[in-house]
Amino acid sequence: MKFETAPDVAEYVKKEIYPDGLEYVPLRENRVIVKVAPGDLTKVAELFVKKFEARLIHATAVDLELKGFEVLHIYDFSKFKDRLVVIVKAIVDKDSPEFPSIANITWQATWAEREMKELLGVKPSGMPDPRHQFLPHEWPNPVESGSIPEGYKFDGSTTAKEMYLPLRMPIEEAYQTLIPIGPYHPGVIEGQIVYVKVEGEQVVAADIKTGFHHRGIMKLIERRGYNKGAFLAERVCGICSAAHGLAYITCTENLYESEVPERALYIRTLLAELNRMHSHLLWVGVVADVIGWKTGFMLTWGLRERVMDIIEAITGNRVNYGIWRMGGVSRDVPQELAEKAKRTVDALREECAKLLLLVADHPVVKSRLIGVGPLTRAQAYDGGAVGPVARASDWKIDVRIDNPPHAIYDPKVISWEVITDDHCDTFGRTLVRVKELLVSCSIVSQCLEYLAKTTGDIRIKPKTVPLGAEAVGLNEAPRGELAYYIRASDKDSSLPHTVRIRTPSYRNNAIIPLMLVGSNLADVPVVMGSTDQCLACTDRLEVIDNRDGGRKILTWDQLVNLSRRASRW
């Protein structure tokens, strides 16, 4: 199957959306670049966000070496025209990389601009929250050299330290307690700190700090090339690895005139939805665990194990499937296996429906979830919520319908629907996920039916990626919209120049403090869990190179000695 591009999409953008751009460049599959002057960025943002209600997908910057920095704001316009994504570009000077911040216009851009500042050293001026995103708060500001300047001392004079050290809280606030939830806390397995100020058990203020496992995965893909990048992309997150693989492949296939066999598209959908099933089951289990219900945790994870078994039989692996290839997939699903898996999935669907709706009907579960972590539709839009969090606030966005990835999600071919809910709280998020799980079951069942009946190619050799091409790939991960931006290198057709990943948790984590204020301390882990936060996604990968001469490799005896020394008492 080939992916179409509307021929007049650039003219459409010029005529209907923004007429004053310097240049309009159409890309494949209805992506349009609009080049503007750096000063106009706020004007454009105001127009897009306020008038068109376009979602900001990501804001980032690209280092163009001598030419300067290219600031990108990627907006989703799929409401106006099928699959339309507008990339607003402005080139800023290398010597004084300043441009106006748009975070004052929409909260969606705050984290993105903080990250941009850290990754490239550009200076968005007038940011409402200029603290560090991934680096420690007390790190020297601004980051230019990438290392601590000589003679610098951590004197604790920064605002961050004053704000966070509980011992320095002024005496007038002694009735409050400052509680750091994290970086290592049993309620949240991964590393992050949520600072909550409580009066008794009531939360009066909250703040979040991430960056405890930033792993530089985007830079790694830039060095490894397109083919090996798929495996790295999968390893951004262990739970939504299929979503990452699909988004990455969608993005790289967008770079060239791609063609994918239909059977491969079905296999991709199958895997992405199986992935969503196990992710949502996992989430229900985690929330049950967080509210202290070990039985709910065990039961849902018991069901999840059977989904994992299907995935393992289909791809050969449980977590990172490793079947994503440009131009198709690497493994076929044999017809007998498809039939067998279909029977399992159908049985599973009934059990899930029975069990999960019972869980959602439990009186104590209800009393712990209803009204917790409220988020209205307007707040969700302004904060930039994505995925089930947005849908539970009655905001119908789903990338699979709006801007589908390179897989089969056409409602004419596969019958499915987008689930929304108007509870606007954690209970709503639970219901959305439970129902979505059942929808995923039916999609999987339909895919397996197709795969059991037909045969065909699963892979077409990809063409060479043109130099300097650009693409945006989107996919609906279990946690929400996942976006990849790739710019191909100008010199080497096997290497990308820039890779940027915007994960769903990145957005949903940014609004956690909004949801926390006013809630009970007992609800803090529930609210944090309700966004299904995945900090591995937020922070992205780390690598240890064992060939590096600098790293010491310990022998067995040394290791034993070390651990003995550590555990002596």
């Binding site: 509980p166 307690t177 509680i179 806390h185 049993p186 309620g187 058990e201 049950a288 665990d289 967080v290 509210i291 202290g292 219900w293 070990k294 039985t295 709910g296 065990m298 039961l299 018991g302 439990h362 104590v364 579960v365 009393s367 712990r368 009970n520 301390l521 007992a522 609800d523 803090v524 882990p525 008492w569």
Partner: protein
Amino acid sequence: MVDLIFTVISLIVIVPLALFLGVIYSYLLRKLSARFQWRVGPMLRMYGDLKPLLGTTRLLQPLYDILKLYGKETIVPDVSRRRLFVYSPFLSLFFAVAAIFFIPFPGMPLLSGVPYSLIIASYLLIASILFTILGPVASGSPWAAIGARREVELFLVSELGFVLSLFAVAIARQSLVIWEISSGGQSLYLALLTVTAGALMFVAMLGKLHIKPFDMPEAEAEIVAGPYTEYSGKLLGTYYLTKVFLLYGLVALFISLFLPPIATDVLWLPLYIVAAVVLVFLLTSVQVLNPRYRIRNAINWYLKVAIPLGVLNFIIALAIWLVV
């Protein structure tokens, strides 16, 4: 003289016996909840090829866990009030063991025949729980502070139900001596009281033992380990040992007060064990079927259930006293 020697010997015997039974009850709690959750739990009979490595049975697994803690390093935080922090677990254990001396076991009246033994036993149980609050408060950790605060709130409401049910029985049987209550006869009216006051006592036990809807003092997802956050090694092991004794003590108290005359004669021992297992099974099923309440919900629930039930008990008890 013979009585005195017998009492002294039985006091010496009851401590390891209570520990053993408490460990078995804890094992049952763990095993049953595991089976409810589609897990295996601690093995009653080990797999064949693991026997040389792990032994034939893991029936005493809760005890092994505690013994393991005794072999670990104990850390006392600098900011803590050291004396209170270190002594609290031992005092808590002491009071729990002391409480056990006043609760009869089939064939062993122990000290339950002394005057006012019901009041002494309930005070000793309160004292034991009090020291699980005082020690953590002395540790200086915010998690422990919040956990201890929750523990106090929960303790106040659950104690209300506990005391109401105890005294309903005491009024109906016109005695404050546990031995007299537990060796008394049964009648239809007393059986009715057994059901209502027993239900109240059961509900209070949930709070005292931190069974699931009421385990917010130890809510690990919210406040790490709650009161026990700063405890480690031997001190933590002592607290866990206290819990084992408390579990035995409360089960024994329940049986001796509400199911007389099971806890009196040695011939009743099989029935005693059956009753204890049924009680532990009920505790387990409440444990596995419920998520944790917020502390406010829990207090509301106790006030809604415990007070009306307590008043009802009093009315029934008074009626039995006056009419029968």
